[in-house]
Amino acid sequence: MLDDFFVRALIAGIGVALIAGPLGCFIVWQRLAYFGDTLAHAALLGVALAFLLEVNITATVFFVSATVAILLLLLQKRAGLSSDALLGLLSHSALALGLVVLAFMGSVRFDLMGLLFGDILSVSKADIAMIYGGGLAVLLILISIWRRLFAATVSPELAEAEGMRPEIANIVFMLLMAMVIAIAMKIVGVLLITALLIVPAATARRFATGPEQMAVLSALIGAVAVIGGLSGSLRWDTPSGPSIVVAAMVLFILSLSSAIRRLTKRSETREGLLK
């Protein structure tokens, strides 16, 4: 079964969606969309360095993204600049550095499009093993810091006052993000990773009544988007990564209309109760 490239792509994509969903919820809650982009841009530098030094791409991407994340934390404490200015600074510095490093390797046959938009159809069995192994580790760690991280999300001060050590939870979360970017890059590409994190979470928000429920829902919605997007890309011969994001977007739009319907139904029952 795994010999079919399409089945491998499906399994890999669903795996990534299951990890991205819960983490994406925190990205949405903490308003960190631009942070996701910054790490993704740092990932490009990671890839370039991996080619230059001839080392494992995923490990290098993780390392570079994690470094940028920690750098951000340090700069936030020190510098007087606002967070969004710091993110822009780090994001584009990393991107520019990555492109410069890439230019040094003119002779290397390099699939820039695959890097930017993902190359899910060339996923190997080893890739799948890494996605599920790494993904399982990410999810287990996330579950172990869940309560702290959620408390820190609602109110860092409250969490700290009541002994939840929010700074530790936030550092672990940033490392998990770096891991997910490293893992997901191959599936949707550097440019669209943030979309895979945010869009399913935003869709899940309309149905969720609790944070845990929203995390599970966004994982499932992401998986549906992967299935839909890959099927579409096979049928209409469109690039797979963007197709997945388009499918996620379609789900979001559908959720908008169903949420509107639900709202009107609720107000009708309320009126009915009043009578």
Partner: protein, 280 residues
């Protein structure tokens, strides 16, 4: 309420310096178990900053702040914004930092009078309901130290009195120390053990009646004395009980409130009274 030797939290000559000025300086007080300490003072006088030092959220730039090891803290911050993107029910808010059983949650919400809102989304609550939820959350943790930063903001007048009554009964029940920030001396005075009046520094402190009579206090609030409410609050040292008698700040109960010695008559304003802790 048995141990009084080791204070739960202690500030000695503590101050915070930020952006080339002192937010507060020379703060000195202890919070004992079973004691209610109330911080009052005008806006920007450093009440919240002082509370944050007690909580360890703000390191003192000078002086020392100590807390007993392993103290369990319950905190109601002055402001908390819950974003639309966060699906958060009151039930989930209750377990934000503590694991609680359903009955513990129900009991705490019952005490603050919003048991019916357990399944409501936090962002749909009114200001007063939200404060009640936050207070319920803090007391459900069974804290050793309860820090309440203007806990009754947005709560209506009767509700305010009931919540103050609840806060003093929580103190009696858990024996916890309570740091209460208030700009409303009028109600706080009845239940509190120690009032600390801040204005960038400790302007005066002591029992409620001692503070109300101190010249520093008069001076600090004197400029606002032209506003009727301020005068009314500061001269208020007696409470009209439901049976028509009057209880004074020193705990004595008389038939009338002596309008000739400068006190205002305001029995109609006060439908309900708080319990004096000295009787509890």
């Amino acid at each position: 309420m048995t141990i009084t030797q080791n204070p739960i939290a202690s500030l000695s000559n503590a101050g915070v310096y930020r952006d080339s000025k002192w937010l507060v300086r020379g703060i000195e007080f202890d919070i004992q178990r079973g004691e209610i300490v109330t911080l009052i003072g005008p806006n920007g006088s450093g009440k919240s900053t002082t509370a944050k030092m007690v909580l360890g959220l703000q390191k003192p730039s000078e002086g020392k702040v100590t807390r007993l090891q392993g103290v369990r803290v319950g905190y109601v911050p002055q402001k908390l914004h819950v974003d639309w993107t966060l699906p958060l029910t009151v039930r989930r808010l209750m377990t934000l930092t503590t694991r609680l059983s359903g009955s513990e949650i129900a009991k705490a919400l019952e005490r603050t009078g919003i048991a019916h809102l357990v399944a409501a989304e936090v962002r749909h609550l009114s200001g007063g309901e939200f404060q009640r939820a936050m207070l319920a959350r803090a007391i459900a943790r069974k804290p050793d130290l309860l820090v309440l930063d203007e806990p009754v903001q947005g709560v209506d007048f009767t509700g305010e009195l009931a919540l103050y009554e609840l806060i003093s009964s929580i103190r009696n029940e858990l024996g916890c120390g309570i740091l209460l920030i208030s700009h409303d001396l009028h109600v706080v005075m009845a239940a509190t053990d120690q009032v600390i009046c801040l204005n960038g520094h400790v302007c005066c402190k002591g029992t409620p009646s001692a503070v109300a009579e101190s010249p520093e206090y008069m001076k600090l609030f004197g400029t606002r004395a032209s506003s009727g409410l301020a005068v009314y609050q500061h001269h208020h040292d007696h409470t009209h009980l439901p049976d028509g008698t009057v209880r004074h700040a020193d705990g004595t109960v008389t038939e009338h409130c002596h309008p000739d010695d400068g006190h205002h008559d305001h029995g109609a304003d006060q439908p309900k009274t708080t319990d004096d802790p000295s009787h509890a």
